[in-house]
C-alpha cells in the first residue's frame, strides 16, 4: 500500500498509484505548470512532492525500500502527471528510466547500496547519453572511461543533460577504455559529490521548458565499482530503450488526453448552450477520439509486450522487439502532435489564446519535443536496417 503524503482523497476504486499521481498533479504540479513554463524553471515543488511520497523510488522493490510498483503502474502515473505538467512528468519519467537500469543491471553490493539510497532519500537521477559531435546516436561514444586501479575518471561534452544541476547523480555513457571502439560502451554512475558540471549552453526552448535541459561539460571521477558491470549495449536493448519509449509514450498520451479533455469540454459547453443542434465541431471530436483511442491502444499494447518478456534477455535483445519499441516511439511521438492539433482546431481561438480554460499552446509546444528526443529519422533509419533481416511482425 502506498502512503499518500499529500492529503489524499480516498476515492473508492481508484488504485493507489493513480490517486498519488492525481494528488501530486492537481495539488502541486498543475498549479505551478504555467509558471514553470513561463520562467523555464525546474518544477521543484512537484519533484519535492514526488520525493516525499516515495514516487522517486517507485520502481525499486519494497525489500530495497522502494514502492515496488510495476513499470505499468509507473507508466500510468506518468500519464496522469503529464496532464498537469508535462515538464514535471518528464523529469519524473527520465529519472525512472535511470532507476530501471540500476534495478536490473546494477548488480553489485556498491550499486545495490546506492539504489537503496535512491529509495530511502529520494535521490534524483539524470542522464547523459547523447554527446557533442555524435548527435543523437546514443550507441556510440567518443569520450572514454579512464581507469586507474580502483578509480575512474570521465570527461564528457554533453549537449543536453535535463535537470543536470538539480540531480543527485548522472548516468553517463562512455567507451569502456580509451582504446575501445566507439560502440563498446559502458554506463557510469556519476555521483553528485564526484561531478563538476560546466554549463555550455542555455535552456530557453520551445517546450518541456521545465526540464532545464542545458548542455554541460561533465567531469566525473569515482570508484570503479560505479561503472555498471554489464555492457551498455545490453542495458540499452533490455532496459533503457524499451523503458524510455514506454514511459515517454505514456507521457505523450497524457498530453494528448489532456488536450482531448479540453476539446471535449469545449464542445459540450457549446452543446449545452444550444441542445437542439449537435455542434459542428462534435464531428471533429469524434475523429479526435478515434485517434486518441488508437494512441492508447499502441501505448497499452507496448507495455503488455514488454511486461511479458522483460525478464528474458533472449527476447528483449531480439530484433523483432527492437523494431516494435522503435515503432512505438515513432507512432506515439507523431500521434501526440496530431491529437493536440485536432483539439486546437476544435477549440479555435479559445485554444489559441494563452489565457483561457481551453488554452493549448503549452501542450502543443511540448508535444513537438517528442519527435526530437532521439530523432524519429534516426529511429526509422535504424528500423530500416533491422527490417532487412526481420521475418514476421
Amino acid at each position: 500500500m502506498v502512503e499518500v503524503a499529500i492529503h489524499g482523497r480516498h476515492d473508492a476504486g481508484v488504485p493507489d498509484h493513480l490517486k498519488l499521481a492525481t494528488d501530486i498533479g492537481s495539488e502541486v504540479a498543475g498549479p505551478a505548470a504555467a509558471e514553470v513554463d513561463e520562467q523555464s524553471r525546474f518544477p521543484v515543488e512537484a519533484i519535492d512532492a514526488m520525493r516525499s511520497a516515495g514516487l522517486l523510488g517507485a520502481l525499486i522493490p519494497t525489500e530495497m525500500g522502494g514502492l515496488g510498483w510495476t513499470l505499468g503502474q509507473v507508466a500510468e502515473a506518468t500519464t496522469t502527471l503529464a496532464r498537469y505538467c508535462s515538464s514535471a512528468a518528464m523529469v519524473q519519467a527520465m529519472h525512472q528510466i535511470q532507476v530501471a537500469c540500476l534495478v536490473r543491471h546494477g548488480d553489485s553490493p556498491e550499486l545495490r547500496a546506492f539504489t537503496e539510497r535512491v529509495a530511502r532519500e529520494g535521490l534524483l537521477l539524470a542522464s547523459a547519453t547523447t554527446e557533442a559531435g555524435i548527435g543523437g546516436n546514443v550507441r556510440m561514444s567518443s569520450c572514454a572511461v579512464e581507469r586507474d586501479l580502483d578509480s575512474f575518471q570521465l570527461r564528457k561534452q554533453a549537449p543536453v543533460i535535463s535537470y543536470g544541476e538539480y540531480s543527485d547523480a548522472i548516468l553517463a555513457t562512455a567507451r569502456r577504455t580509451p582504446e575501445s571502439p566507439a560502440s563498446d560502451q559502458v554506463l557510469v554512475l556519476c555521483r553528485r559529490e564526484n561531478v563538476t558540471l560546466k554549463p555550455t549552453s542555455e535552456w530557453d526552448a520551445m517546450g518541456f521548458r521545465g526540464t532545464c535541459s542545458l548542455g554541460f561539460e561533465l567531469l566525473a571521477h569515482g570508484d570503479a565499482a560505479d561503472i555498471l558491470p554489464v555492457a551498455y549495449g545490453d542495458i540499452s536493448s533490455q532496459t533503457m530503450l524499451p523503458v524510455s519509449h514506454i514511459l515517454w509514450s505514456s507521457l505523450w498520451f497524457g498530453i494528448a488526453s489532456e488536450a482531448s479533455d479540453r476539446a471535449r469540454k469545449f464542445v459540450q459547453a457549446a452543446a449545452r448552450r444550444n441542445p437542439d443542434i449537435t455542434p459542428p465541431n462534435a464531428l471533429r471530436l469524434a475523429e479526435l477520439t478515434t485517434v486518441l483511442q488508437e494512441f492508447q491502444d499502441v501505448v497499452f499494447a507496448a507495455r503488455a509486450r514488454y511486461a511479458a518478456i522483460q525478464d528474458s534477455p533472449d527476447q528483449t535483445t531480439a530484433i523483432g522487439f527492437a523494431i516494435a519499441m522503435n515503432s512505438l516511439k515513432v507512432s506515439a511521438s507523431t500521434l501526440v502532435v496530431d491529437v493536440v492539433q485536432r483539439a486546437l482546431l476544435i477549440c479555435g481561438m479559445a485554444g489559441y489564446a494563452n489565457r483561457s480554460p481551453f488554452t493549448l499552446g503549452r501542450l502543443l509546444r511540448d508535444a513537438y519535443g517528442a519527435q526530437l528526443m532521439v530523432n524519429n529519422d534516426r529511429i526509422n533509419a535504424n528500423n530500416a536496417q533491422l527490417l532487412l533481416v526481420h521475418r514476421k511482425m
Binding site: P181, D184, D314, Q315, G320, N382, L386, V389, R391
Partner: protein, 84 residues
C-alpha cells in the same frame, strides 16, 4: 565453416582490428561491431551459406562471437562444401 565466417566478418563487420587477430570466442560487439554492422553480417552469412536465419536466432547473442555463429550454423545444419 570458420574461414567463410571470417571472410564475411572481413567484408561486413567493419571492425577496427584485423579479423585474423580475433579468437573464436572474442566478443564481436566489444571488438567494435555496431548493431548496424551486425545486420550486414547476418545478410552476408545468409548469402555465403545460402540460408535464412529463423526468427528465434535473430538476436544479439547469435552474432556475439565466431563460435556462437558456428553453433547456430551447426544447428541449421549448414552444408559446408569440402573446400569451403
Amino acid at each position: 565453416m570458420e574461414e567463410r565466417i571470417r571472410s564475411v566478418l572481413v567484408a561486413f563487420a567493419r571492425l577496427p582490428i584485423e579479423v585474423d587477430k580475433l579468437g573464436r570466442d572474442d566478443d564481436l560487439y566489444r571488438a567494435g561491431m555496431t548493431s548496424h554492422a551486425s545486420v550486414n553480417v547476418m545478410l552476408g552469412l545468409e548469402d555465403a551459406f545460402d540460408i535464412e536465419f529463423p526468427d528465434e536466432y535473430l538476436r544479439k547473442g547469435t552474432f556475439e562471437s565466431i563460435s556462437t555463429i558456428m553453433a547456430v550454423l551447426g544447428q541449421l545444419e549448414v552444408e559446408v562444401p569440402a573446400h569451403g
